[in-house]
Amino acid sequence: MNDVLDVALRLLVVFVVFLTFPLIIGQTEHKVMAHMQGRLGPMYAGGFHGWAQLIADGVKFAQKEDVVPAGADRRIFQLAPAVALLPYLLVLLAIPIGPGEGAVGQVIDAGVFFVLAVMGVGVLGSLMAGWASANKFSLLGGLRTAAQLLAYELPMLLTAASVAMAAGTVSLPGILDAFEWWWLPWQIIGAIVFFVAGLAELQRPPFDMPVADSEIIFGAYTEYTGLRFALFLLAEYAGIVVLCGLTTVLFLGGWHGPWGADGLGWVWTLLKTAVLAFLVIWLRVTYPRLREDQLQKLAWTLLVPLSLAQIALTGIVKVVIQ
């Protein structure tokens, strides 16, 4: 009975995190973008600095009519948002937030493989949406999504493998247990490559070619309205949470910090994740969108060689220090 209660509690906590953190990041994006552009952003909903803006947005989305285009493949069109969103919920289960077995939803032996595999499944949602909408813009968006995923999955995997080599384990808590501060400069190239590739996988600016609203009208999501569209947006922000959390765990030492190691580990994890999320928003405001060929070129001629170099470096240092 105690076991069941424990599992239920963990699932509940992960679920609450899954529902709140993306909204917090979304609201932060509203405000940070506004201030970077010399605006105020939402100020009315909820009273204090528009804190309830996203809740109001959610209510608006829920009230909208749920339209499925006549020419669309109905079932796949309706299934796509769930396929896009659920993988991120599963990934959150495996991300450790503090030291010990108590601070992770579920200890998974092959954690690195689990998170990368399940994150890759999420992209299927965009592909399904792009195809099933029976819309040229959507199909283009789906195509670009697939091309982008194929280009960026490889550097992401290679850099994650580099960390796994350094730690000698593929379990996420195991990697954190093995972490030393000097891994930071050692794995810094891998960290940057992983983060950039992750941004591309999430289709965040400057890699938002697949959704490019000004040319292909939000790509795969053109035909979506109401709650289903909101689910896709939620998937994007949940993706930011997952990517920042993973980068924190793999490269920035997760719950390790200069002080307060016992009891305050989770604060470090959250802090690092929040800083990375801010970086994601900052990049969106700063850089223009990359063209499709520039994006492919960046992946194949820069990120893949860099990640291979990182693996070589990791291997050499690992052999030397043994």
Partner: protein, 226 residues
């Protein structure tokens, strides 16, 4: 506690230990029942994959099939293999498949020409291959039982150790095979590029400007495909 162990715990409850001792076929454990049910779903999805007339649906049913296989691996405590299965097959191979379908043609609804004249030959080959595989696996593992309660037999550590201690040669041979496939793919794509750019040079009546346009679009296509 690993995920597989949790699944086993949830599925079986307290009776696992006794059943694992006797290995009775007449009193199947929860894991065995789950294994059988997932297997049936996987088999059904595989059948739909090859029989459906809707191309993209076939690719999506393939996702279900491969995912079902991953669940089977999980139930057999081979966690590492299960996640690699999802990563490689669902995450990459099916995405590549969908990419190819969308790039060429992916009509919504049935494609009447999505059928083959040699379906019976294909069926014969498939049945023969399945029979050979089943025979080999049954013959090799006839008396082997996996202890689901003990330490995971297919953990990353166990898989890695057996792969690099006992199976290094096949592993290396496979990597050479993959390398050859990679080089072959590059050679094929280079050849296609040379062919696509050569006809406008020799073709009569092609103006200079249109030639550069063709070449430009050809190379950009190449870039996208890569």
């Amino acid at each position: 506690m690993t995920l597989a162990a949790t699944a086993a715990l949830l599925a079986t409850g307290p009776t696992t230990g006794a059943a694992a001792q006797t290995h009775g076929f007449l009193s199947p454990t929860g894991v065995e029942i789950a294994f059988l049910l997932v297997g049936l779903v996987t088999f059904g999805a595989a059948l739909v994959t090859v029989t459906t007339r809707q191309l993209v649906h076939a690719a999506l049913w393939l996702v279900v099939t491969l995912g079902g296989l991953a669940v089977e691996y999980l139930l057999l405590t081979a966690e590492f293999i299960a996640w690699v299965q999802v990563l490689i097959y669902v995450g990459s191979v099916v995405v590549l498949l969908l990419f190819g379908l969308m790039l060429t043609r992916a009509p919504i609804g049935r494609s009447p020409d999505a059928d083959s004249g040699n379906r019976w030959a294909a069926l014969a080959v498939a049945v023969a291959a399945a029979a050979a595989l089943v025979w080999v696996v049954v013959d090799a593992f006839r008396t082997t039982w996996i202890d689901l309660d003990g330490p995971a037999a297919g953990s990353t550590e166990a898989t890695g150790a057996s792969l690099f201690q006992n199976w290094v040669l096949p592993f290396e041979a496979l990597s050479v095979l993959l390398l050859a496939a990679l080089v072959g793919a590059i050679v094929l794509s280079r050849k296609a590029k040379a062919e696509s750019s050569s006809p406008p040079v020799n073709a009569p009546g092609v103006t200079k400007s249109s030639r550069t346009v063709t070449q430009g679009s050809g190379s950009s296509e190449q870039e996208g495909a890569r």
